[in-house]
Amino acid sequence: MSFPYEYIFKYIIIGDMGVGKSCLLHQFTENKFVPDSPHTIGVEFGTRIVDVNNKKIKLQIWDTAGQERFRAVTRSYYRGAAGALLVYDITRRITYNHLTTWLTDARNLTNPNTVIMLIGNKKDLEGQRDVTYEEASAFAKQNGLIFVESSAKTGENVEEAFLRTAKLIFQSVQEGNVDLIPDGGITKNPPQTITDKPQDASKCSC
């Protein structure tokens, strides 16, 4: 029996349809960009083990469907997330305008220590920019979010987004702000019940 990581952090990626949530996930976990990838109908997830302060941490990332009609269902996946990546598309203002509703959901459905990171995706499409960096940056500041602009296509800042979030969560863990509970999205490995897969644990509690 081996435990190649010490913690598991659960992330959720949320935001409007077509902002590139799945592409961010694939870029981060597989270094792969699939243009015109199909819309996520449901919830996908990927994992990657990262090093934070010399600790190996398994990020378990839940990528949710962005469609409005699934909103009620995807909400059930927020529970227990240690990190939330709130994504909009810098070339479509409408996706930026919806951030408030996404943020409200995230705040209401996760715990107060959940680290929320704002990501303006599609940074590579500078010519079609519809939301300035300054504006989004101010929004992030007002709402106490960390903010980065990224490109799932080129990979720019994708690592940074995921790792910065992990660092902040880890910091939170070290400062003792976060309880290590299986449903809390932060699990110490090996947990008491190794067979109890975190995603299933969160399901059972639904």
């Binding site: 190649p4 449901g42 996908e44 469907a65 269902v73 690592e159």
Partner: protein, 787 residues
């Protein structure tokens, strides 16, 4: 940022390992103390001795010297009287120590970080992609000093004016540094300090000591140029004693290993058994030392060990003691003529190596110097004592390059004319192609490896493909099941287990009108499963769509649901279910139906001043039809209708189409009446009066009272229906109906327990059936009850 960070960690891991190394060594020495104390069965004094001996092996822990010195005092008094038994015990102690050092945690179960190990191995495999080779030189020197203290300059030995550059590494070995009993028994290291100081003075300020290690008279010191110090890691040492009792034999070997940039180097200094005849003994010594010296495998997390051969470059130096088996005068003659070639041909070591009996795979630079043993100390004369030992090349320098590494280049192999000992010192210089890491390339390859691992891990999660996420059932009619199929296919590489799961804060998987089959299952890779979705709106669920205040002006009520199909350890699939329920008077409520002046599928809004109808018009139409067309029909209400015809009748009722537009048997209409009453969400005699009704059934008057308390619409319906049934019975001659028959049929639909009540869980017993029938029967036979 991430890239750099990751590699930082790798390097700091290595640093950590170094630290671990240090701590392991120190902890193992203390552990050894304990081990020896507990396992030794000899006397207390021997026990103490062993502790003292232990400290020899680790000069880096001078704190142990205090007990040493105490014991030394003790021992000095009678060191001449040391018994063989004591020596044996202490040598056993040495061996034990060496063994323990190499297996620090073999008894403890530890978890193995296989992931890191895998990454490390992969990185090692691709080493050539991120390292460049740089030539570096190593100087190796060996000298049997015959117990002498430093007295002459070491320059002729350690400094080579012919070399343009200073060596990057110095490895200097001594034998017979200390021939005193204290050295053997007490780990007295005082003799080594002057020599080390002497070397450092010779090398001047450009070098730092990496490590020195001593086993009795055998000392090995490694120095590196200051600039290289940061690029050295995993410095470890080990010792192995050999030799037989009966002499103050301090034979054995001392080894130091380290990583120099990305190249691993091991240097072993040994003193093998002496005398012309002991060839096989020497061969065995070499093998024993090779086998017994072990290091902790730093590139692995499982505390496995490596041996001297697991290095890119292995150098073996020392007084190997192999001789030249020729008559003394013949040897001396050839030496005079510098006929080293013919001497070398018979040299024992050369012979043994050629025969594959010892130092397998080792090489030696060509010897072009005179035998280094045995001189009269302080002179340039070979042994003139009565023993007249034949000159020999006892002092040698060999190397072995790992098959995966690049061979060394020989720069020199020679002896130096230092005369204080009976041996002459020997030295060799080599150039080694050192692998130096290119940090950027290493980062890149590390990233590639980790990404590959992550990808594989993600690939090993189950994956499946679903034929569609949107299932539209279009128009759903009351009591008409519609099925649709989904194909779920395992497109992953592992077994996929799936199940439908409820949504947040819900306990049910789907709406009550939807049936899913199967609810869970398993697929091997490439296997497909058909999932049946069936919508069926019956009496129990139709109320959800028929009675909806907001949608009085729409003919169809939309039916929506989202299913979550969960793949164990994998993703979740959302499946949207949609359909339009065609509103109908069936599965409705009396209260709702009397609000509609027009057919239920008519889109018209209900006029605000619309008075409620006294009975549902649909009921009126059915009864009216039977009244005019079927009262005399034999078997009315007894014979079954035709399902298809009943569906057509239902459509007519819902759309106000005249019955004349369709054709059907009167029995279909009669059954429609029964089905209509049966489908009412709440029966004519409401659920809350069910028990009262049963209780009242024995008395006609109680029944009358009960009915008089019905809500007005229900009362109207009851009154109208009973009147109609009485009328029906008045045609008994033709239709052959009996009151009790009708009572049983209609009591079943007019009087039902609530579906939520436990009573509805089981078929009613005979008594209940009789009670229900009796209630209706009273009205059918006593006409005045209903007025």
């Amino acid at each position: 940022m991430g890239d750099i960070q990751n590699t930082d960690n790798i390097e700091s891991n290595i640093d950590n390992n170094n630290n671990n190394n240090v701590s392991l060594e120190s902890s193992s020495s203390s552990q050894n103390n304990n081990t020896n104390t507990t396992t030794t069965t000899t006397t207390t004094s021997v026990d103490n001795l062993q502790v003292g001996v232990l400290s020899i092996s680790d000069q880096s822990t001078p704190t142990i010297e205090t007990p040493n010195q105490q014991q030394q005092q003790q021992q000095d008094d009678n060191n001449r009287g040391v018994s063989n038994e004591t020596i044996k015990a202490s040598l056993d102690g040495l061996k034990h120590n060496s063994l323990k050092t190499t297996f620090p945690n073999s008894t403890n179960h530890q978890y193995i970080d296989v992931n890191t190990q895998w990454i490390t191995n992969k990185l090692k495999e691709r080493e050539s992609e991120f390292t460049e080779k740089r030539g570096m030189s190593i100087f190796l020197g060996t000298w049997n000093v015959n117990g002498k203290k430093p007295s002459e300059s070491l320059d002729p030995w350690l400094k080579d004016p012919s070399m343009s550059l200073q060596p990057d590494i110095y490895a200097i070995g001594f034998q017979e540094l200390d021939l005193t009993a204290e050295a053997l028994l007490l780990g007295d290291t005082t003799r080594s300090l002057p020599w080390e100081q002497h070397i450092l003075n010779t090398l001047q300020g450009d070098y730092v000591k990496l490590l020195s290690k001593q086993l009795v008279g055998i000392l090995l010191c490694v120095y590196v140029k200051k600039e290289h110090k940061p690029h050295i890691a995993n410095v470890q040492s080990d010792i192995a004693a050999v030799g037989i009792m009966g002499m103050m034999g301090n034979k054995g070997g001392v080894a130091i290993r380290f990583s120099f940039y990305n190249t691993t180097i091991c240097i072993l200094n040994s003193h093998l058994n002496a005398h012309m005849d002991n060839v096989l003994r020497r061969n065995q010594d070499m093998k024993d030392i090779s086998k017994n010296i072990k290091f902790i495998n730093e590139s692995s997390t499982d505390h496995s060990t490596i041996n001297i051969f697991d290095h890119d470059q292995l150098f073996w130096i020392g007084d190997l003691n192999y001789r030249i088996p020729l008559p003394d005068n013949e040897v001396k003659e050839k030496i005079k003529k510098k006929d080293f070639y013919n001497l070398f041909l018979v040299d024992q070591l050369n012979q043994q190596m050629k025969a594959g009996a010892v130092f397998e795979g080792f090489q030696e630079p060509p010897i072009s110097f005179a035998p280094t043993y045995k001189y009269d100390a302080g002179t340039e004369e070979y042994d003139s004592s009565e023993k007249k030992r034949t000159p020999a090349w006892c002092d040698r320098i060999l190397w072995k390059t790992h098959k995966k590494a690049e061979n060394v280049g020989i720069l020199s192999y020679k002896r130096a004319e230092l005369i204080s000992s009976d041996h002459r010192p020997v030295s060799a210089s080599f150039v080694i192609k050192i692998k130096v890491v290119i940090p950027d390339s290493k980062n890149r390859i590390y990233q590639e490896i980790v990404k590959e691992l992550d990808k594989k891990e993600n690939d090993s999660m189950p994956d499946a493909n679903i034929s569609t996420n949107m299932v539209d059932f279009e128009t759903i009619k009351f009591m008409q099941p519609i099925s649709k199929q989904l194909i779920f296919e395992n497109i992953g590489q592992v077994i996929a287990r799936f199940q439908f799961i409820p949504k947040l804060d819900e306990t049910i998987l789907c709406k009550p009108w939807l049936k899913i089959s199967p609810l869970a299952g398993m697929m091997i890779p490439k296997e497909k499963v058909t999932i049946d979705l069936t919508i069926y709106v019956d009496n129990l669920t139709s109320g959800l769509f028929n009675i909806n205040n907001n949608s009085t002006n729409s003919t169809n009520e939309s039916m929506d649901d989202i299913l979550i199909l969960h793949l164990e350890n994998g993703k979740d699939y959302f499946i949207s279910i949609s359909g339009k329920f065609q509103k109908t008077c069936f599965g409705n409520t009396l209260d709702n139906l009397v609000r509609y002046p027009h057919p239920i599928r008519n889109n018209l809004p209900i006029p605000p001043e619309q008075k409620k109808l006294s009975i549902p018009k649909e009921l009126w139409r059915i009864i009216d039809y039977i009244y005019y067309n079927g009262l005399k029909e034999e078997g009315l209400f007894i014979k079954s209708g035709v399902t298809k015809e009943m569906e057509l009748i239902r459509d007519c009722l819902d759309t106000a189409e005249p019955f004349s537009s369709i054709s059907f048997s009167i029995h279909s209409m009669a059954e429609t009446l029964i089905r209509f009453l049966e489908s009412l969400v709440e029966p004519v005699i409401p659920f809350n009066m069910y028990q009262q009704a049963l209780d009242a059934s024995s008395s006609p008057l109680s029944c009358k009272t009960l009915v008089s308390h019905l809500p007005s619409v229900n009362y109207n319906v009851f009154f109208y229906l009973i009147s109609f049934l009485i009328e029906t019975l008045s045609n008994q001659k033709e239709n052959d109906l009996k009151p009790d028959q009708l009572a049983i049929i209609f009591s079943t639909v007019l009087l039902r327990p609530s579906p939520q009540s436990q009573l509805s869980q089981f078929p009613p017993d005979a008594t209940t059936v009789k009670k229900k029938a009796d209630l209706i029967l009273h009205f059918l036979i006593s006409k005045d009850l209903i007025n």
